[in-house]
């Protein structure tokens, strides 16, 4: 059977239409959250540079002198919006006219609608799992594996496991935005899971998890040369999915030889419920790095958003 190219593109368009992009307010929230994180990261980086310069000056330089700031620092002129993918670039030489449209495509055809209720799915596709932001990617593809999705909590069991419809888990390696990427040492790893529960049972897991953390304020775990005492506590949490649970695990840090490093090793674990689905991010660091709250928050938002988009 022969085909026309235009017909094949129409098929492609119809196929693409089946994919929901999400609601705009969610996208705006994510964009703003990311912008705030970037701003915070830049501030910290600048502060570190300033501190480094000051210390360096005190160590090797002449006695510091106070230099007044130049008056009347010019403000950069406003620039027109230009898409920057790998840096600044000129504005697109586009026509001011509205582009033509294919037959059947109208300007009022919304790709998205309001905020529909999440449906209860029966299987978990790859697209339900969030993608790391470009600044966090280190060139190592996530790997789906059969993993423990939560750390041990004094041997607690979760009766809600009996209501699981499907679960998938993967290992995600990431870097912090300010650090170099491919070829360099990562900053952390997640065990990231998504679990579908039978209708109305997903919130049981969150209740059970809260109780398990409360009932297990401390526990011993195996260390490099001797057991170490870890402490667990719930942290206040909101703004992720329909509800979420965030807790931390702290223990004395050990180096690769099992000797104490003198600093606390902090792990953050967040479970987020969206309808009958629970996604869990368990940050496990990389060679004794501790979890960074801002990074875990950002990835939690992406994880929840991906589940929402998937559920429609």
């Amino acid at each position: 059977m022969s085909r026309e190219l235009s017909e094949m593109y129409q098929s492609l368009a119809a196929d693409a239409d089946a994919r929901d992009l999400g609601v705009p307010d969610l996208l705006r929230q994510q964009a703003d959250r990311r912008a705030r994180l970037r701003a915070a990261g830049s501030t910290v980086a600048v502060a570190l540079v300033v501190v480094g310069v000051v210390i360096g000056t005190q160590v090797v330089g002449p006695p510091p002198v106070t230099v007044p700031s130049p008056a009347g620092t010019p403000t950069p002129p406003p620039v027109s919006p230009s898409p920057s993918v790998t840096g600044g670039s000129p504005s697109p030489p586009v026509s001011p006219t509205t582009p033509g449209r294919s037959p059947g495509t109208t300007a009022t055809s919304p790709g998205v609608t309001g905020s529909p209720q999440p449906r209860t799915p029966t299987s978990i596709p790859d697209r339900a799992f969030f993608r790391l932001a470009a600044a966090n990617q280190i060139g190592i593809a996530p790997e789906f594996r059969d993993l423990d999705v939560l750390p041990g909590l004094c041997g607690a069991t979760f009766p809600s496991e009996a209501a699981i419809v499907q679960r998938r888990a993967r290992n995600v390696v990431y870097k912090l935005p300010q650090n170099p990427g491919e070829g360099y040492v990562p900053d952390g790893t997640y065990t990231h899971s998504i679990t579908i529960y039978r209708a109305g049972r997903a919130d049981d897991l969150l209740d059970e998890l809260r109780q398990a953390v409360r009932d297990c304020p401390q526990q011993e775990r195996s260390g490099g040369s001797a057991p170490v005492l870890g402490r667990q506590r719930l942290l206040a949490d909101s703004g992720y999915g329909d509800e979420s649970v965030l807790f931390e695990m702290r223990s004395p840090g050990q180096d690769i030889n099992g000797d104490p490093t003198g600093v606390q090793d902090v792990r953050l674990i967040r479970a987020i419920r969206v309808g009958d689905v629970v996604t869990i991010l368990w940050e496990q660091g990389w060679e004794n790095t501790s979890s960074q709250r801002a990074q875990v928050d950002a990835d939690s938002a992406r994880a929840a958003a991906a589940v929402k988009v998937w559920l429609g």
């Binding site: 059977m1 022969s2 085909r3 026309e4 190219l5 235009s6 017909e7 094949m8 593109y9 098929s11 492609l12 368009a13 119809a14 196929d15 693409a16 239409d17 089946a18 994919r19 992009l21 999400g22 705009p24 307010d25 996208l27 705006r28 964009a31 703003d32 990311r34 912008a35 027109s80 919006p81 898409p83 920057s84 993918v85 790998t86 670039s89 504005s91 697109p92 030489p93 586009v94 026509s95 001011p96 006219t97 509205t98 582009p99 033509g100 449209r101 294919s102 037959p103 495509t105 300007a107 009022t108 055809s109 790709g111 998205v112 596709p125 790859d126 697209r127 060139g139 593809a141 988009v309």
Partner: protein
């Protein structure tokens, strides 16, 4: 000051077309969703100025194209590694023609994919495509013609490519 309502209206009226475009230039649903969301996030960050742009949708397409090209380069090495390790099991395609076209488009240069998408999905005349991709009209005609020829070679059932090529000659 950014006006959320006007951004949401813009998003709702363009998102479907943009996902189609993203899918046509990336050849991957998830990549397309990711790139288009990223492009809209960037648009929102600049919405105070971009809302006054004469053609914000064209601006968005340019961001998607550049992100797609960038990712295509970065993913090439990964794809090679995946081929050695064995490809993941394919997801059942909902539409055979679409899947065939996407598979063929993956073997077409990025510039050709872009102009083909603008022509077939946006029904743009060659002159307008040339303005958007910042290339001479003759170059765009050549890209369209070569893109179609390549697709015809990859899609043996494709009909009357020669006749279609004349509509932009």
């Amino acid at each position: 000051m950014r006006d959320a309502q006007s951004f949401d209206d813009f998003y709702r009226s363009t998102a479907r077309r943009m996902v189609r475009y993203g899918y046509a230039v990336t050849g991957d649903h998830n990549e397309a969703q990711d790139l288009v969301q990223e492009a809209y996030a960037r648009a929102w960050r600049q919405w105070g100025r971009l809302s006054a742009h004469p053609a914000p949708e064209a601006w968005l397409r340019l961001v998607v194209s550049r992100l797609a090209t960038d990712r295509w380069r970065r993913l090439r090495g990964l794809r090679g590694a995946l081929r050695l390790a064995g490809a993941p099991p394919p997801v059942a395609p909902p539409n055979e023609d679409s899947v065939l076209l996407v598979q063929a488009l993956r073997q077409v240069p990025a510039t050709h994919r872009r102009v083909l998408a603008l022509h077939y999905l946006y029904d743009m005349p060659v002159e307008e495509i040339a303005r958007e991709v910042d290339a001479p009209v003759g170059t765009v005609k050549s890209w369209l013609s070569r893109g179609r020829a390549r697709l015809a070679a990859l899609l043996p059932d494709l009909a009357v490519v020669e006749l279609e090529a004349t509509d932009v000659a």
